[in-house]
Subunit: 253 residues, 2 copies
DNA sequence: AGTCAAGAGATGTATGTACAAGTTACCGGC
DNA sequence: GCCGGTAACTTGTACATACATCTCTTGACT
């Protein structure tokens, strides 16, 4: 075959099947064509067809089977890594204009806590970045980010008011690969309150983020404090173990 | 074969491989034996071995491949659905003793908001359950749960002080299949403050949960308010799109 | 008309074969 | 000694086949 693209057959089949589900060509809740029919239609053997179906199954777009043909199911897509990591990208996906005003960018020595989290010795140089993040010009989040020096020094060649640090780091081929977000709630401190323009003591949604490279080397330790009125996090999971995550603008439904 | 269990071959292989990774028998970061070696060891063909490896690969326990043998990688396991849904199960996994004192269980008419979320008409009967959840006897979370009547009526035959509502519902074959958790922060109201023994206005971590059946029919709408000192949520994600979630006891690291 | 069993058809599982494509190590030529 | 090509090995992809197991329908029997 190799008509359109040069991808392996089962990947092209998977993409085609997914297109049919999302376009409604294979209606949600109704059984999809049988494997033999698909084999006949694409002139292939059962193997690639089954690989493609397995892919969709693990993504949750197909359920059922065993005796009867599986049924299609449209699923809410998980937000991609970049969207979840970058405030700028996230803001755009929810149709808002991101903004930022840098409070501070400084090279200093790692505090005890930070050193532990970043796997450094206390006193090693790190780069701290504090920015107030805006949505459509309104304060939404206060970001305190600490980078290991090797990564952070890039920031001195970069104007953090001009856009996405995340994209700049990617462009410089920093291997941001894995992130762990820990979510809790804190009361706004005096500094938080002043910058976010709320009263001291008001509840904030805090996300501490540890970003690491592919090998697990810590690169960034961040403390983001959101106004609860501006953003929420969602987790969707099922008994089968599929999980999708998202960050959304807060709004009453 | 069928020596030990009656599971399909590739599932037994997958379980065995996973055991070897987690036990360190296949050290992290080092290549695992080649497919042919595994075939020889287990006296099977390449198919089941590859299925098992694919399973581990999609779970993130194996990386690499194509030409060189894949590399083992221990991953933090995602908490299973039940652990994430049930306070009782969760408490046990972190080595604490769960407890609860029921504040109220009542059959009443759905408010406008609740009706929307549960997909009911305003005024339809629902069952509301309010419980204070404890960890080792200390207040940790205030749970306000609203069930559709068909599910909630089960609760009248059940003592909610005696343990896990979730397990009871499963036992009665209620099809709890899918849950969406929305996380934000709120200030403790007077009632929250009194029950959780904090000051009014203190920050609480709020998780609103909509639990649905396999077909997507809403069954439960809940509002859980955690003391931030007692629990945090974590999200781990990678560029490849794998996501694992967890709820943990708060502790300084 | 109702019930149960057989059978057709579907997916799940497993084997064997073949070739393509990538990685590594070795070995000879310069 | 360095470089480059080749050979061996590994995984990725694809096909053909066979049988197990489950579902649903059909049809015969009661």
């Amino acid at each position: 075959m190799k008509t359109s693209e040069d991808l392996p057959l089962h990947q092209r089949l998977g993409a085609e099947f997914l297109r049919r589900i999302e376009s409604g060509e294979w209606p949600e809740g109704k059984p999809v064509p049988s494997e033999s029919q698909l084999c006949a239609e694409f002139g292939t053997s059962r193997g690639p067809v089954r690989q493609a179906l397995a892919m969709l199954r693990s993504a949750g777009s197909l359920v059922g089977g065993r005796g009867k043909p599986p049924v299609a199911r449209r699923t809410t897509p998980s937000q991609p890594f970049g969207t979840f990591l970058s405030f700028t990208q996230w803001a755009r996906t929810i149709g808002r204009e991101p903004g930022q005003s840098t409070v501070e960018v400084a090279r200093r020595r790692a505090s005890a806590e930070t050193a532990v989290r970043l796997g450094l010795a206390e006193g090693e140089p790190v780069v701290e970045l504090v920015r107030l993040r805006l949505l459509d010009g309104v304060p939404a989040m206060l970001e305190r980010s600490t980078f290991v020096h090797e990564v952070g020094r890039i920031l001195f060649d970069f104007d953090p008011d001009s856009g996405s640090v995340y994209q700049e780091l990617l462009r410089r081929e920093v291997d941001l690969h894995h992130a762990r977000h820990t979510i809790d709630a804190v009361a706004a401190g005096p500094r938080d309150a002043e910058l976010l323009r709320v009263a001291a003591g008001d509840p904030l949604l805090r996300v501490r983020r540890l970003t690491t490279s592919r090998q697990g080397v810590p690169l960034e330790d961040a403390d983001d404090r959101y106004l609860p009125a501006m953003a929420t996090f969602t987790i969707e999971n099922t008994v089968e173990g599929r999980t999708v995550i998202g960050r959304y603008r807060t709004e009453e439904d």
